[in-house]
Amino acid sequence: MSERHLLCLLRLVLGGVFIYASWDKLLHPADFAEIIRAYRILPAVLVNPAAIVLPWLELVLGVLLVANRWADGALLLADLLLVTFWSALAFNYARGLNVHCGCFSTKAVAEGDMGWYLIRDGAFVLLGLAAMFLHLRAARRSPQPDSAPAGALTA
């Protein structure tokens, strides 16, 4: 598998993850706000704006990644979000706060298994960073005209 194909695959996977992750939060913004509040990281005034904007940002990112439009910018943001989410989880894990992940679902059902979240989201972070690495390598190697964005399957 060429690097180009691998980058394309990573893009599709990440895009799919983001679209899937956005859905439940788009439908239940109030529940998502409660989860953000439970993380006890954002100041209270920023909780609702974050609960409103984050799901849409995830959806837009996912669609752009899958459709390969502005995929470089989307990849950068996706990586920033993944690292931020993972850090927030790890921070709460370290201080002993067992938060509900809120990653893919807003249902505050069973107690979240923080260890599992950390591993799973850590894997997403690695995927995102790998995609960024491949993208930057491709960008350095070949001058990319605007019409051939990251990971385009045009030979």
Binding site: L57, W70, D72
Partner: protein, 163 residues
């Protein structure tokens, strides 16, 4: 080349954030059940604890101790002098017109105005609250049976003609 594509990547990322935020905030404003954009972590007890314009003794005490409410004593001046909630102003219902300016000044910057009388069946607190509400002052609450509850709980009181 690398620098150029990083610059373009960053610009597009900013564009995506702007676009998503506009989309999200716009649709949130339109959709039924959208979240209020600015909401404190907890509603103030002034807004929360009221039913039928009354306030509980716990909430009233909390507002007094945190200096967030004006207390108005609706009883007679004689009863006020004998003992009243610490900091309360004496406003017998029949003297309301004359005390209006003083009440407005005292209510400025506070979260609530709380009227009280004594006894479960004393209507004066409610009457005073109704008068104040018709003058456009918001968050007026009645502490029913206020004086008896207050003294029973050993909350701060004063005696004499001054608040």
């Amino acid at each position: 080349m690398l620098r150029k594509s990083i610059a373009r990547m960053t610009a597009r990322a900013l564009g995506i954030v702007t676009l998503s935020a506009a989309l999200a905030l716009g649709l949130n404003a339109l959709r039924p059940g959208g979240l209020p954009l600015l909401e404190a972590a907890q509603q103030s007890i002034v807004a929360e604890a009221v039913s039928g314009g009354e306030i509980s003794i716990q909430d009233a005490a909390l507002l007094l101790l945190s200096n967030r409410a004006v207390f108005l004593d609706a009883r007679s001046v004689g009863e006020y002098v004998a003992g009243h909630i610490k900091g309360a102003l004496s406003v017998p219902v029949e003297d309301y017109e004359g005390a209006k300016g003083q009440i407005k000044a005292a209510a400025a910057g506070k979260e609530a105005v709380i009227t009280y009388c004594d006894g479960m069946f004393c209507p004066l607190g409610q009457e005073l609250a109704d008068l104040i509400r018709t003058d456009g002052i918001e968050n007026v609450r009645v502490l029913k049976n206020g004086w008896e509850l207050w003294t029973h709980e050993n909350l701060p009181v004063s005696t004499g003609p001054n608040p």
